[in-house]
């Protein structure tokens, strides 16, 4: 349950930590409670926007409030009793009563009273001057004076005389100067173990291995820490951690995010592009230019072109008939995201009106959007050099020639169904869209071409599914021809890597208008007026408008006041939990002014001067004494060979720590290092790392499911089916640019970490690792567990407590329990479904999930159903079995329901029902009945085969049902296939789920809700309609923990028999107790928080 408790990591008294770092309580209170009140009740008469200002009083600035109106100051800060405003709204004085016609609610009056009592804080530190009125559509000189719009100026490093604490680089001088102003001192340097854990998680996102800690702790050279930092920055793990921060900013995910949350199989290339950019220390200005305009600036460089997938990362609705509307929303998404991520300005407000607080005009929104208006999404580009493309073309030509006859015949067979499909797909659009689509591309305007292409994606979607519309002989022939095509595979060149990219539609840009203000004419591309009011200077290219190149170049000019500041501030935020300017994607007036403006400018200037190198900036930050401070102010932690020092205040410390808490409770001045909770990815990565499951190879490439123990950056991120552990730990929603994640603490997290089968599996892996690596004694194992999980040795008392716990837990664990905790398969959530499914691998598929033969298992007509997710199919012709009552021997009776392999005699990745039984002609042998419905890997499906046996009167029939569970729009696919089996397949073998009684044929993926029924069920009797056992059900296996994973939910009592071998191997209370100990460590605060 997502509820009940949430806490900020910055300060316990902040009630909820939000995406943006918390503003000081006063400003936040004003912004969230007071300003809305004033706007709603007072501004109609008492603001600069009022038609007529009443009583000479304006309440839209603090100065105005203090100055008051005709009857005097509206408030006396801190003194509600003496404040006219409070008198007026509380109704105590009839003559003063405000608002004149209505009364404020008592809670509202209380809010104002509290605000005055607090000293009437206004939004933003120090912004207590009157905001001058801005005429509609105009920018004032004062607007231009806002700090973020000022050029970055050279800053002198503050001189620190007689430093009382370490200064490791100039960052520390800026920090110390501010601390000194406040009468504060920094904390001493953290011990090396703490430092190692901090910097490993920070720079590479993984916990240090015990050997790595030792190496650092034992390195007595003066620059041991700097060398460690250099090692980490050079590690390929660095980009794997830091890419995710950028991916949050550019709302990256790998699915469409609408009703059909279609997976994007090529999206990973952008993720790899970002990982590589961080690993290669690609200069940031180049990184910006590539994402925004690689097609214009680096057209010959396919690696750079991969950056333009930035434009494609947003959501897309595959069946939206409102094509113009969808295109406009795509442009708005790109406009908003680009402004947030690259410019650090929130433009969204200006979509409909001039920004209320910042100098952003509505016109600015559309000037900015005009940079992107010529975009055309492209799926036809490849990640290949011209030479590679040429080579590919030659081979493709050879293959095409060799297979020309086959292709011609397929085309012919598909022609009419293709024509009809295309026609009906186009007819779903309204007239004017159809007109655009039917025009030859050369005759379309640029805008028409964009719209027609976007609409055409929906037609292509249908055309890609043509095969499913074929029937009878034509279908068999097409399948046979496709099979024949594979004989030419040797000739066929491997496809060039698909690039998801974007270019311009052409050299002419479609016009951009402000909605409902079309009379103002087309809006030229331009930057925010406050920075440059002239339209942008754009030099067109032969096939492109050059607009985005102009934007990218403007952004990356060293003189741009925002780009470097924004990025430097982001980096600071990702290291310290909060930016120097707290609102990292909005440097406007609703953000706070920076806590250290000089430092921000000094860093920004240096960043540009050093070639926009992010790694140099990282190094500078993490090697500062500021970064190396202790986070803790209380008593110290247990020692590691005496290494961990007691973190009590040094005697020379002039102030007690509670004074520092008092003066700067939010640690804005950085008098200590802010400790924090790991982010979602780091928690999963740390679990996998500590338990020894993590596989660092392959680096990059297609994304994998949550079960694959790779780093989380390589997990599929599906917008509508979030991985449970990432979800509960505040994974960003990939719908909008996210500059900073929420950090919540909820019971849901506790339930998941403490009760889920997934975590029990990890705990067992951890225990088994300890058992293998440190078999000599419990004592050693416990020490090793502490070192792995927390990076430190246990103290003596901790070790004793752990030993005691393991001992006691052993006594508590009965034999049956130990067996249960060694369940041979993992139970995990299947995407887009509830509850858990059995995870089956080919290795266990052949022996584990056995239902002993029983008289209730059907011997004639039957129906087998299941929810499945296929991770892989066999590379050859072997099937992967969903369920079977068969040993895989073609001479012995039985049946099997399975998924075909790549080398199938009929069609890969399709369902097959295999029988060895008696045929109509009396012979005994095999009949394989194929469904021909293609299953995509990694996608959840409901599948069923309803079997009606052949009789003398009529041939038998298998009805296959396939329903895509990731896309409700996709109708259930039903295929009837005749066959000649009359029976004779009964045997005394066990029914097996996920395998068959043979070495081969094990399933790879997830299986859930397997139901075997007597009789050929009709469509409305299937699990999709009635997900319960009925009187026809011979067995229904749901793998839920209650009553237990092996239980048959039907009345037949056909429970799965836990395999004796596995139970015996694990019937070991000590192993189970050790796993419990490991499980507790993985739940511990020390595991998920970093000092």
């Amino acid at each position: 349950m997502k509820s009940l408790i949430s806490a900020s990591f910055l300060c316990g008294a902040t009630i909820v930590s939000a995406a943006a770092a918390p503003a000081p309580a006063g400003a936040a209170f004003f912004e969230s409670k007071v300003r809305p009140l004033l706007v709603e009740h007072c501004f109609k008469c008492h603001s600069h926007d009022a038609e007529k200002i009443k009583g000479g009083l304006v309440l839209d600035s603090r100065a105005g409030v203090l100055q008051g109106g005709d009857t005097g100051p509206a408030i006396v800060p801190g003194q509600p009793g003496q404040s006219l405003l409070i008198k007026a709204v509380s109704g105590a004085d009839k003559d003063l009563q405000m608002p004149p016609k209505t009364k404020l609610a008592s809670a509202e009056v209380e809010t104002l009273r509290q605000w005055v009592k607090m000293g009437a804080p206004w939004s933003g530190t120090g912004s207590q001057t009157s905001t001058p009125k801005r005429a509609a559509g105009k920018i004032t000189d004062e607007d231009r004076q806002w700090w973020a719009f000022q050029p970055v100026k050279p800053v002198a490093v503050p001189a620190i005389r007689n430093p009382q604490s370490a200064i490791r680089n100039d960052i520390d001088r800026f920090i110390l100067a501010k601390l000194a102003d406040a009468g504060l001192q920094p904390s001493p340097e953290a011990d090396r173990v703490t430092l190692a854990r901090r910097v490993y998680f920070d720079l590479v996102g993984l916990p240090p291995k015990p050997t790595e800690i030792d190496e650092f702790v034992n390195d007595r050279s003066a620059d041991a820490y700097e060398k460690l930092v250099d090692r980490l920055l050079a590690s390929p793990r660095h980009g794997e951690k830091w890419a995710r921060h950028w991916l949050d900013l550019v709302r990256f995910a790998e699915s469409d995010g609408y009703k059909a949350d279609d997976f994007r199989p090529h999206a990973w290339r952008f993720r790899d592009y970002v990982v590589k950019a961080f690993n290669d220390d690609k200069p940031y200005h180049r990184f910006v230019q590539e994402q925004l305009a690689a097609d214009e600036l680096f057209a010959d460089n396919p690696d750079a072109l991969a950056g333009t997938a930035y434009f494609r990362a947003g959501i897309y609705e595959y069946n939206n008939r409102d094509v113009r509307g969808q295109w406009q929303r795509i442009l708005e998404d790109i406009t908003d995201t680009t402004a947030d991520a690259f410019l650090g300005m929130g433009l969204q407000c200006a979509r409909c009106h001039d920004h209320k607080f910042d100098p952003i005009l509505q016109k600015d929104y559309y000037r900015f959007q005009a940079f992107f208006a010529p975009l055309l999404p492209r799926d036809d580009l490849t990640l290949a050099t011209p030479a590679e493309r040429a080579g590919h073309a030659v081979k493709l030509k050879q293959w095409n020639e060799a297979t020309a006859d086959i292709h011609t015949e397929i085309t012919k067979l598909l022609a009419s169904v293709k024509r009809n499909t295309e026609k009906s797909a186009i007819e779903k659009f309204i007239e004017d869209i159809r007109v655009m689509m039917n025009k030859p591309p050369g005759e379309r305007t640029p805008y028409e071409h964009q719209i027609a292409e976007l609409a055409y994606r929906q037609v292509i979607y249908d055309i890609e599914r043509l095969d499913t519309k074929l029937k009878g002989e034509a279908k068999d022939r097409v399948l046979a021809l496709r099979k024949k095509l594979t004989e030419f595979d040797a000739l066929k060149p491997a496809p060039l890597p698909t690039l998801i990219a974007a270019t311009d539609v052409g050299p002419v840009a479609p016009a951009v208008f402000i909605p409902k203000k079309e009379s103002l004419g087309a809006i030229p591309a331009g930057f925010p007026t406050v920075l440059d009011e002239k339209p942008a200077t754009v030099k067109p290219f032969a096939t492109s408008t050059g607009r985005r190149a102009a934007l990218a170049q403007w952004l990356t000019q060293p003189s741009n006041p925002l780009t470097a500041r924004v990025m430097v501030n982001r980096l600071w935020q990702w290291h310290f939990g909060r930016g120097l300017a707290a609102n990292a994607s909005d440097f406007g007036k609703l953000g706070e002014k920076p806590s250290h403006p000089e430092l921000l400018d000094w860093l920004a200037e240096r960043f540009v001067a050093e070639g926009w190198s992010l790694k140099k900036l990282h190094r500078l930050i993490v090697t500062s004494a500021t970064y190396r401070q202790r986070s803790q102010t209380g008593a110290g932690e247990g020692g590691r060979k005496g290494e961990r020092e007691i973190a009590a205040p040094a005697p020379s410390h002039p102030l007690t720590l509670s004074t520092a808490h008092l003066k700067d409770p939010e640690n804005r001045l950085l008098w200590r290092f802010p400790s924090r909770r790991l982010e979602a990815e780091q928690i999963r990565d740390a679990i996998l790392s500590v338990t020894g499951e993590l596989k660092l190879e392959p680096v990059g490439g297609p994304s994998t499911d949550a079960l694959t123990p790779r780093r989380t950056i390589y997990s599929k991120i599906l917008r509508n089916a979030r991985d449970p552990i990432l979800d509960v730990f505040d994974l960003a929603e990939s719908f909008n640019s996210v500059a900073q994640r929420n950090t919540t603490t909820t019971p849901t997290q506790a339930l998941l970490l403490f009760n889920s089968q997934m975590m029990l599996r990890h705990a067992r892996a951890f225990a088994s690792r300890l058992d293998q690596e440190f078999p000599s004694s419990d004592d050693e194992m416990i020490g090793a567990a502490y070192r792995l999980a927390f990076g430190r040795e246990p103290r003596a008392a901790e070790k004793a407590a752990a030993l005691k716990f393991v001992g006691e837990q052993m006594k508590r664990i009965g034999a049956a329990e130990a067996a249960a905790s060694a369940k041979p398969f993992a139970a995990e959530k299947m995407p887009y479904r509830d509850g858990v499914a059995a995870v089956v691998t080919p290795e266990i598929g052949s022996e584990t999930l056995l239902v002993p033969d029983s008289p209730t298992l059907p011997k004639a007509d039957f129906t087998i159903e299941a929810a499945i997710l296929v991770r892989t199919v066999d590379k050859g012709g072997t099937v992967r079995t969903i369920a079977a009552k068969w040993a895989g021997d073609n001479k012995k009776p039985g049946w099997g329901f399975a998924v075909t392999g790549d080398g199938s005699r009929r069609k890969p990745r399709t369902l097959v029902m295999q029988f060895i039984g008696t045929k109509l002609d009396g012979s005994f042998g095999e009949d394989a009945i194929f469904s021909d419905q293609t299953l995509e890997l990694g996608r959840p499906y409901f599948v069923a085969a309803s079997v009606r046996l052949a009789t003398n009167k009529e041939p038998g029939e298998v009805t296959f049902y396939v329903k895509d569970l990731a896309n409700d729009d996709e109708p259930i696919s039903i295929v009837n296939v005749p066959h000649s089996i009359t029976g004779g397949f009964a045997n005394t073998l066990s029914l097996q789920i996920g395998g068959r009684a043979a070495r081969s044929g094990g399933f790879d993926g997830m299986i859930d809700d397997v139901r075997l029924s007597t009789g050929a069920l009709k469509q409305d009797e299937l699990l999709l309609s009635h997900d319960a056992a009925t009187d026809k059900t011979a067995g229904f296996w749901q793998f839920e923990s209650r009553p237990n994973a092996f239980k048959d939910s039907s009345a037949s009592g056909n429970d799965i028999r836990p395999p004796a071998a596995a139970a015996k191997a694990a019937a070991n209370a000590r192993t189970a107790a050790l796993a419990d100990f490991c499980h507790a460590l993985l739940n511990a605060n020390e595991f998920v928080y970093v000092d």
Binding site: K2, F29, D730, T745, E1040, R1042, D1091
Partner: protein, 494 residues
Amino acid sequence: MSLFTSIDRMTKSGCNQVEWAASRRDFLAKAGAGFGSLALTSLLARDAAAAEASRGDLVNPLASKPPHFAPRARSVVFLFMEGGPSHLDTFDPKPALKRHAGKPLPPSFTKGLITAMGEYDSPVFPDKREWKQYGQSGLWVSDWCRHAGENADEMCILRSCWANGIVHSNGVCQMNTGSILAGRPSLGAWVSYGLGTVNQNLPAFVVMQDNNGTVVNGPRNWGAGFMPAVYQGTRILPGSEPIANLNTPEGVSDERQLGKLDFLNSLNRGHASARASQTELDARIAAYELAFRMQAEAPDAVDLSKETDATRRLYGMEDKDSATFGRMCLLARRLVERGVRFVQLYSGAGSKWDAHSDIEKNHGERFRETDRAVAGLLKDLKSRGLLDTTLVVWGGEFGRTPMSEKGNGRDHNPTGFTMWMAGGGVKGGQVIGATDEFGLHAVEDRLHVHDLHATILWLMGLKNLGLTYNYKGRPENPTINEGEPCVKVAGHAA
């Protein structure tokens, strides 16, 4: 299992709780002097009021909060007919459909209209319903919802709703979050944020659905969007584990589970004792304690064994077709009784109200599944005195077109459709708004989704524009700076 008592034991025997809490208060008091007394004041106030409360309450964002003004409704039950139920066959009778049957609509109606499946020029499809007036108020209700109709005098029918999304994903997204685009908090999340919950051992916002299908867009419909996840809805699942991972894992005895929990607690307390200023560590300890208090309370809340047969029949639970939604409605009543703030029930999860073809069969089945259950909920709430404080809302993401699709179905219609409200301060027996003569466009007293949301919030004592959350420097509100409550629902003059 009951871990409840054990937790109690654990916290008392843990470390020196009382002393610790006192020092924590001291710390906050000192710190408070420096950074504004807002948080501190509320913390101390709550602290004093709940001296015995666990430390987790110190930082509980779901603590009950006062509304902006006196609320009419304390809880909401939102009956979401997912896929878009037809208004023309239920609550908005249009005799013109029969007169124009088989002919296309006049072009003036369909100019510029975009429909999901391109049915703008298809012929008008007449309804096949029997209509009757119900109650003292004589509201017109079709035979499909005759049981609901018996409650006509409690119902306020809103015939002039309109929305922006023409397909399910943006329609459902908007009806839940105000925006057709993903990313914003759901209405239930806003209510949780604005009002908190009176029962700390149950979620503030609960969601149930009637089948295993995926509600269009998935769980983000009840998500918290840009707000912290603590405000999002919690799915209550059918079966033995109502909340994901609520149960002690299979094959693990209570004793063993408790032993592990005890050990974890000792690890965490040792760790926290050296980190006095890091209150989030204590919050996390409290979250574990709370999780296990939930283990005690949630199963009881969803345990229907103590309900009488008469009650079950009231909800139509003896009937195979209506058993599932009947059970959900009964659960909704039990949750509301226990202080849950916002309950959302999905009927036809996975767009099963989407009657593009054969609306007779489709809607016939859906109403067989829901009509008695919905009527039972209203009656049961009323007889228990809960209807006064519980707002029941019925509707889908849009309605359906007067034009036919595939000869016997209807396409999506977001430009005019019906929802109804009952209880929670709503004046029953009235109709608000009207669609045009064919029921295509809302024409009188038009109520956009934002207005509907504003109305629900208003009934709960919240101002739709006054409930703000600062995100990226912008004060965001539930209805995106638009929307006005329709005060007529409470019988007020507009």
